[in-house]
């Protein structure tokens, strides 16, 4: 699990600055807190080009209390952006599945923005046997 905020010193500092900028572009100055998000990746991904990801957020998905966005970021890809999902109460359930690219072993960061402005965070990790071809 990625430390929060991601460390600013050390050999990966340049990558982390890109990650932080990508996160700030989506959630501004909001401070994410641990929340009831389930983020599932396989422990070992044979093909980093097609890694199944499930994100489920515990939310009633009512007009008054729902998830408005789920943001997914990579911590060790050439670029941090994976996807941002915009949700509506009409979905009935705050769950999205997709397939992502992971260039190497890494953690992903998942943020869920709620209708009251709260931002929940969670992470997941996968080991990657054959890296996904991003570069």
């Amino acid at each position: 699990m990625l430390a929060w905020p991601p460390p600013l010193a050390g050999p990966a500092a340049a990558d982390d600055m890109g990650l932080i900028a990508a996160i700030r572009a989506e959630i501004g100055d909001a401070l994410p807190v641990d929340g009831p998000i389930t983020a599932r990746l396989p422990a070992i991904a044979e093909n980093g080009g097609q890694v199944p990801l499930t994100v489920a957020v515990d939310s009633p998905m009512t007009p008054a209390d729902h998830v408005v966005a789920i943001h997914v970021f990579a911590t060790r890809n050439p670029t941090p952006g994976i996807a941002s999902f915009r949700l509506t109460p009409a979905m009935g359930k705050a769950e999205v599945q997709t397939r992502i690219r992971l260039a190497e072993d890494q953690a992903i960061v998942v943020l869920a923005v709620l209708s009251n402005g709260t931002v929940w965070r969670a992470g997941a990790e996968a080991r990657v046997v054959q890296g996904g071809c991003l570069s």
Partner: protein
């Protein structure tokens, strides 16, 4: 707006009970080239679907903004609460203004 020469695949129930939350699966063939990848000594030009927009009865239900870390042949599973017979529209957009789309109907009763 140009039409992309791909046929998206949608998996959605044909019917549902009022109040039921249904699962929708979508898949579209696309290389999702990031513009960072080398092949045969040259860079493959960037060619990315950047958005999937789903409408239910004309209202936005779900939007996926896709970036470099989304796999080739983007696949998405998401949900919808069905309250009445509903028409769905699925639109994919690439960064050059190309689009692909599909429609579906879920009947109640």
């Amino acid at each position: 707006m140009s039409r992309l020469a791909v046929q998206p695949r949608i998996r959605i129930p044909r019917s549902a009970r009022a109040g039921e939350v249904i699962e929708i699966r979508t898949l579209i063939e696309h290389p999702m080239e990031t513009g960072l990848r080398h092949e045969g000594g040259s860079i493959r030009p960037r060619d990315l679907l950047h958005r999937l927009l789903v409408r239910m009865n004309g209202e936005t239900l779900f939007v996926a903004d896709l970036r470099n870390g989304t796999s080739a042949n983007p696949y998405h599973v998401f949900f919808a609460r069905i309250t009445r017979t509903s028409d769905f529209e699925f639109i994919w957009q690439d960064e050059r203004g190309g689009t692909a789309s599909a429609t579906a109907r879920v009947t109640v009763g």
